[in-house]
């Protein structure tokens, strides 16, 4: 069937003129058909070209597909027919003032004025400092009450607002309003010297530093026709897996703490530090800032460092295994984890959940297997999922992935790693081009898109953090759940505020 969409490859640049430009009606019909038939929305965003706004969609089946169209001032919402578009349509409405008519829940995403000067779709007054001009969803009833939490939370944690509608302890509905972390990154990236690009990208989300830097580097490499060598791909893969392990380990500890089982909480917390210190050994920064640069990696792994990494991971592997066993074999932990915050597979698919959150609901997609980059084609990533959709499943998936990642790193450290450290220089991107990269960050599908202009300047930089898909999963998990189980569910997802807010 001709979908009108063009097949493209992960991390391969194409001329912008190759992107099929469809009439809006064709674009709408084809995009809806692909996603209704099981496709996923990787990107759906607007950009400006010669004073007009255009729309671009990147969809994912077992391949990546792209098409574009001219943006109308308003159009019948896709979301009414096909839910995975819901947040993308809201983002386009916020960024470009284009109204999806009939959108079931058209509200702001990050609270900022649009770029086109069109009337604001949400009637917001942006001279007000606080993103407050919004009537939260309300549930009516004599005994219904609301609980408002945030933006400043009780812990050392990023800001966001949570509004619960409850009867007693039972949550009917949780609404999450973000945007407090909005730093204007996408626009900043089109306005700065290229020397600043890696520094900004590494700070999109500090817990996803390596994955964001890798996604950016792959895109720049595609636009400068640079090939990386095997050694740098191995080092990137090691850094990506260390990032995954550190975050999963920290979250397993936090989950344990939230059910008041303190030994694993402390052990996981300490071991997370040991994994961060492995990244420190590699590049001098615990979060991996500075490892990845366009063209390769900035730090090599010589035999001394390789042996030390191997020694440390060999020491940590049995400890991880034992603490994971301790966590999951403790009845009081199981009774809190199991059946708590269940999201059904059907809901997960409609919301478009990705990564471990999706795999915990029975969606086995993993970009490392489906669209492998770096060194992942050398690994057999299992088709793996947990069916139960609850806190247990989300914890179990993260524990299993941690052990898999440890094995992968050990394999990668077995042989000498030969590469040259690259330094970051200025570069000239191919003019009039487009590239998309997708990678499996620790939270799931992370994607960067670059559109270059006639002189090779970055005309549009689009970033999609996996949390963009998954925040609504957290809302859904709270339905009919005790409000006291919110922290537990929240940590089982542990989504990014800054990655979402950009």
């Amino acid at each position: 069937m001709d979908t009108g969409f063009l097949k493209i490859s992960n991390g391969c640049a194409i001329p912008r003129s190759d992107i099929p430009q469809l009439s809006f009606a064709e674009f709408r019909e084809n995009a809806l058909n692909i996603v209704k038939g099981g496709g996923k929305v990787v990107h759906y965003f607007g950009y400006k070209e010669n004073g007009t706004v255009k729309l671009l969609a990147v969809l994912r089946t077992d391949e990546l597909l792209i098409a574009g169209t001219d943006a109308p001032d308003s159009y019948p919402s896709f979301t009414n027919e096909c839910e995975p578009f819901h947040l993308f349509e809201r983002e386009i409405a916020e960024q470009f003032g284009i109204r999806p008519e009939g959108h079931p829940w058209l509200k702001m995403v990050r609270y900022h004025p649009n770029e086109t000067g069109k009337p604001d779709v949400f009637d917001n007054d942006y001279s007000e400092d606080i993103p407050g001009r919004y009537d939260y969803y309300q549930v009516d009833g004599d005994e219904v009450h609301e609980v408002a939490v945030g933006p400043v939370h009780a812990g050392v944690i990023e800001p966001g607002h949570f509004r619960f509608n409850c009867i007693g302890e039972r949550v009917f509905h949780l609404e999450i309003q973000l945007g407090y972390q909005h730093r204007g990154i996408e626009n900043l990236l089109t306005n700065v010297d290229s020397k600043r690009l890696p520094i900004i990208v590494e700070s999109i989300a500090g817990d996803t530093t390596v994955a964001n830097a890798t996604g950016m580097a792959q895109a720049v490499e595609a636009l400068t026709q640079v090939e990386t060598d095997t050694g740098s791909r191995i080092i990137r893969t090691i850094a990506l897996e260390l990032e995954r392990i550190a975050n999963h380990t920290g979250d397993l500890g936090a989950l344990s703490g939230d059910v008041a089982f303190l030994p694993p909480a402390n052990y996981f917390g300490r071991m997370r530090g040991d994994f961060l210190n492995m990244t420190l050994l590699l590049c001098g920064n615990r979060l991996g800032k500075g490892v990845v640069r366009p063209g390769g990696v900035r730090f090599t792994i010589d035999d001394e460092i390789r042996n030390e990494l191997m020694r440390r991971i060999n020491e940590l592997e049995p400890q991880m295994k034992h603490v994971i066993d301790l966590l999951f074999s403790t009845p009081s932990v199981r009774s809190r984890f199991e059946g708590c915050g269940t999201v059904s597979k059907g809901d997960a698919e409609k919301l478009g959940l990705v990564g471990p959150a999706g795999r915990a609901c029975g969606i086995q997609s993993d970009i490392r297997r489906e669209f492998p980059t770096e060194y992942y084609q050398k690994f057999e990533i299992p088709e793996y999922y947990e069916p139960s959709g609850d806190v247990y499943a989300r914890a179990r998936v993260r524990a299993d992935e941690t052990m898999l990642s440890i094995k992968m790193i050990k394999t990668l450290l077995e042989n000498r790693i030969e590469t040259q450290a690259v330094d970051f220089g200025n570069f000239n991107l191919s003019p009039g081009s487009f590239v998309v990269t997708v990678n499996e960050a620790w939270r799931g599908e992370l994607s960067h898109c670059i559109l270059t202009g006639d002189n090779g300047e970055i005309a549009r930089y689009k970033i999609k953090d996996p949390s963009f898909h998954n925040w609504n999963g957290l809302s859904m998990s709270l339905r009919d759940t005790g409000i006291s189980d919110f922290p537990l569910n929240n940590k089982s997802f542990n989504l990014s505020y800054c990655g979402f807010d950009l």
Binding site: G155, P159, Q181, N191, G269, H322, F424
Partner: protein
């Protein structure tokens, strides 16, 4: 139960002796820079123009550690002839100007406020506000509660409410959308209170300088008592600064 005990023995005792004994960080860690004052002008200028944070003043041969993200680019570019980063993690300062460094930083303990030591030296309760932080600085503050650092043994804790706090620790470049919430949290802390800016973003806007959505420097909004540079600052940098300033 047996399983819990087995794990306890396997894990052992992990808390650091610091500050009684020193900790040597790995070679690649980049802490306080050392600057060669007679470095050739062309190398200095090249480093200044290539610095992604524009943190180098080529005339004065200084680096603004409040803006620097410690990427180490200048060290590599000058092949160590202009800048070398040491593993000295004690880079906190009490005065913003001290961060414009020629490689020397004054001893933080000599510049702390005496009445703060008296008031908070034995018990310091802090409220952390992430104001558009990327979760790197937040993470490396959070780890101070893990067994290795065990911040609580020094009488320092992060608390849930500004009403329980003696001070505020701010991370992030203070987005337009977080400004009001940050200032309200600051207001809610009873006087006298301390203000600590952690990370390049909170001190200067960091990687996001130039964006209309952020604030370039917490001290343009409220007076700051303690500056802790880094991107993110290492947990030991945070610990060193807290202990030297308050103890």
């Amino acid at each position: 139960m047996l399983n819990t005990l087995k794990n306890r023995f396997e894990q052992g005792y992990k808390t650091t002796d610091y500050p009684k004994t020193d900790i040597q960080l790995v070679d690649r860690y980049r802490g306080r820079p050392e600057i060669t004052q007679d470095a050739p002008d062309d190398i200095v200028k090249m480093c200044a123009s290539e610095c992604p944070q524009d943190a180098i003043d080529a005339e004065k041969k200084t680096i603004d550690l409040g803006r620097c993200v410690f990427c180490g680019g200048c060290e590599r570019l000058s092949d160590g002839k202009f800048v070398t980063f040491t593993t000295d993690f004690g880079t906190g300062t009490s005065i913003r100007e001290h961060l414009f460094t020629d490689g020397n930083l004054p001893a933080l303990a000599d510049h702390s406020k005496k009445h703060f030591k008296k008031l908070f030296g034995r018990s310091l309760q802090l409220r952390q506000v992430s104001a558009a932080g990327c979760n790197a600085c937040e993470a490396d503050l959070n780890v101070l509660a893990t067994p290795f650092f065990d911040l609580g043994r020094f009488g320092i804790n992060f608390v849930a409410s500004p009403r329980h706090a003696d001070g505020i620790v701010v991370t992030g470049p203070i987005s337009r959308n977080m400004k009001t919430a940050l200032l309200q949290t600051f207001e809610a802390i009873p006087d006298p209170k301390v203000v600590i800016a952690v990370g390049s973003c909170a001190i200067s806007g960091g990687p996001f300088r130039g964006s209309p959505e952020i604030t370039e420097g917490l001290d343009s909004l409220i007076p700051v008592d303690l500056y802790i540079p880094g991107c993110p600052s290492h947990p030991l940098t945070n610990l060193h600064a807290l202990l030297n300033y308050f103890k």
